[in-house]
Symmetry: D2
Subunit: 306 residues, 4 copies
């Protein structure tokens, strides 16, 4: 009962890290958890942790593309596991496409007639996907020259190294030697394009090779830490990687809107991961129930500061 709740105090011209510091003085409710996430991130960086970052959902159309790129360039992450959606939409912009601001409450049949596909309040014109096809098909030919049976991580490494767009997180990852895993790559537009390519060419994305590469990374990880943005395959693939090693995550930060009660791994508590040995019994853990597009930029801005 020693530590008192100190109330958050604001000031004009306040920096993000100062706001987070105030949240940390409060130390309670969700604001306290945001501050704790920043604190754990700092500890991971100080400890030289190998940081595995899971990026679920569709964060790239949602405006977080450059934040991911910055996190890679500033060496805040060592391994990325993400969805096909995030990779597809990163490549779309790398190929000269774009995402447009739209409305979430809209006549979707009308959008269909106008050739617009919607992702919450983001609009993607149909021709952008045609542009994507025009660029990704020759790219597949290029990157499979040295072997057509590859992991998703190897595929994205090769693709990333051919990109010119400095804002692409796939390119930044390739440059910085950060593997980008996409274990459910078939479940995306990128996967559909890969299938199209495979109709007339040899292409074999072998997901067991992803497991191989991931298990090696987990085995060699130093003071392993996990930063889980959303749930889905990225979260589970990161956590399960420890099941085949004697190691466990020593740090884990989770930002999500998912909850435990439906029983899926997406919303599972980080404590549950202790029972599996995915995290250590005394791991430093924090879950922030909140939107990734708001919380993750705050965390990164505050971490960048120090």
């Amino acid at each position: 009962m020693e530590k008192r709740v100190k109330h958050i105090e604001l000031k004009p011209e306040m920096r993000v890290d100062e706001l987070v510091e105030e949240m940390g003085k409060s130390g309670v409710f969700s604001a306290g958890r945001v501050a704790k996430a920043v604190e754990i991130y700092h500890e991971m960086l100080k400890a030289g942790s190998t940081i595995f970052m899971g990026v679920g959902g569709a964060m790239v159309p949602g405006g977080l593309r450059r934040v991911l790129t910055q996190a890679i360039n500033e060496e805040l992450v060592n391994v990325i596991v993400t969805t096909g959606a995030n990779v597809t939409h990163d490549l779309i912009e790398a190929f000269g496409g774009y995402h447009a601001r739209g409305e979430a409450l809209v006549d979707d049949a009308g959008l269909r007639e106008r050739g617009i596909s919607r992702i919450f309040d983001v609009y993607v014109p149909q021709q952008i996907f045609e542009l994507f096809e025009d660029h990704i098909q020759p790219m597949f030919a290029e990157v499979t020259k040295n072997g057509a049976r590859i992991s998703s991580a190897e595929l994205l490494r090769r693709i990333g190294s051919h990109l010119k767009d400095e804002n692409s997180f796939v390119k930044a990852a390739a440059t910085k030697n950060v593997p980008v895993f996409c274990p459910a790559i078939a479940d995306s537009i990128l996967g559909l394009q890969a299938w199209l390519y495979s109709q007339e060419h040899e292409l074999n994305i072998d997901c067991l090779r992803d497991v191989q590469e991931m298990v090696e990374l987990a085995s060699n990880a130093k003071e392993p830490g996990a930063v889980l943005l959303g749930g889905g395959v990225p979260k589970n693939f990161i956590f399960q990687s420890m099941l085949l090693t004697p190691k466990s995550f020593k740090y884990a930060i989770q930002v999500t809107m998912d909850r435990p009660e439906p029983g899926g791994l997406s919303g599972a508590t980080l404590e549950e991961a202790k029972s599996w040995g995915k995290v250590t019994p005394d791991a430093k853990l924090v879950t922030v129930i909140g939107d990734v597009t708001v919380i993750f930029p705050i965390i990164v801005a505050a971490v960048l500061k120090k």
Copy 2:
């Protein structure tokens, strides 16, 4: 389809308002909504809006006491409607009590034995409530001298004017002439104390007088705006105030974790309020699905800037 999603860019030493500006350039997902909330807040202030703020839940134990006080002192709000919990815990600190940082996952029967009451991850020692009783009972005697049949707003105005603690939002509101309504005052520790007092003294908290005072404020409101932090009685009491006037809210900002599907007013969309005439057909509206302890400080810090 003109406006493109510009990705959020972070920088070290970034100010909160700069982060919000980046979120505004993105303009989508929840980050875009935070930026829109700040934009609407600025518009309200520029238009000289009468701003009605609803504060649900238990934001004071959650670390937002001074943010509320700052919002009052900086004239970001003209009328407050809140829960008995927020008033009770503000007074607790004004009377010399405190809130302690605890754990959300804990043995609650054990806490009970230690005399600690829990509010999520905030601990309140039982003796704090005794301290509260010691101070509030003579206060009731003091403030009912000039009439014992009063609205909750009048009661809190009188209490506020007797407080010494500059950090108290109830005091700040009394000083700044901001009414604080507590339409469900009986539903709180403060209400239980009022009932105790009424056992031997005359005290009559007449909720219809709150309606009277609120309808007058609504009728006289200039370019009315609503800032709704959480749901519950505060949100509805603010919105229904317009039903008895020819006016409607021209602006509304809602920050909540509640959703429409359960059908209660707490999670109702702001669009629904159009059908009732609570907001104008062309009102500027934004709902941020997020935690008030995180989102509201960001909004206020960004609004303070300009």
Copy 3:
């Protein structure tokens, strides 16, 4: 580790109680909790519990009016605490009004022009509220003949005893001597009508009298049990009633979509209530995260069976 998960087995022509029994054999996830809620309800009935039921939100427009009435008539509840919305909409139908089926995704400004107020996907034509006014104003005159300073429970008892509609839960409650508390009555259309009435007549709804009546009920409760449908004032008012007695709830069932993290009482765990002494350390507790309009009818149908 003894008890195994037995998988739910369905059959044609299955009764609700049989389905719940299967859910109980499974015993896990939310289905297991629904079964546990039924089990606890049966225990309460067997123990002769005084059952306090909180009914938040707008369950009456949402189709649960007769389920509430049935629960009263079948003696599944002894005390009700609810919102002004539930009472208002019960009375609307008792006075000959109705609720219509609408759409949740709709042009609300257009509804406004058509004179329709929306509650999620329920439509209420404006004239229904005029009908409500026509009936409630003379009712106020009638029921305040024997004293104009009353609790909400006394007001609703008197109103209920004047109603003719057997489907009204307010009437059923009056008939069955089940008090109906509405501690935030001012926060509703009913409250606005009461205020209108009070403009020219004496009417004083004294919320401290509600506390008085509630504390007496809590003090005299036998093996007290709580059934909490949604959060808000009803949940808290029921729980706080025990703070002024040496008793605590021995049973509690909570059905809600609210979660603990925002920190308000609506989403607080039932375990938290142990720390306050609102429930006993060994109380039988269950929280079902789910929609009241689906879960409560299942529970009542299964309880009616035995």
Copy 4:
């Protein structure tokens, strides 16, 4: 405004389909949506729809194993897309293992010491996973005799045809010729076991072959319908299958706790799918916000009736 809300009426010995019928007479809030889901399911069956079912999360440990098996045997589904977790835990029971009832609020480090892995409130003893390994490794050898480069669907078809347990949904699917896709198979214990096997044997799970098989099924689907239980890869993989065909889903039922605001596909509205052409502009759609372990058995029990 014609259709009035008829309030749900319960009766003792009520059948599930009768309860759903009452919910349908109400027609509003979540209860109304459950009834609409049943109505759409009946329409699909009547139209002879090819029904694609997505099963996210961990429904098998959660008690729904036999419900899935029944749905297959009763021909309520033609194609399944699911997670590795659901397949792993189905096979665990088929191999003689079991799941135990536990607690969600528990000391997870203590569970670890006791060798128990937790899935919400389900416990899995570590030796069960050893049993799983003992059975799945020889199974891999058996089923890859006729080719080691296979789709997940082909792998599960072959595994299913070797199982003896009539309660296994993987076996039932193989028997009934219902393909079971697991596009993120690497992201599961089953996937880890496949990787282990591949260390010394040839095994190549080619996800593009899953796309191939799925596109063929989508192309040949008759009056296509989707039943989406939870989100994740299963939902998206089903929806994206239509992007490479001229067809679209004419019916879709979604049961989930996920919401649109985080922007991921899991919580996306079914309306959004219209903009992509995944569903037809006039598709019959319903989303039930609720727990799959409660809602799906209700739907199936009601559908079995007629």
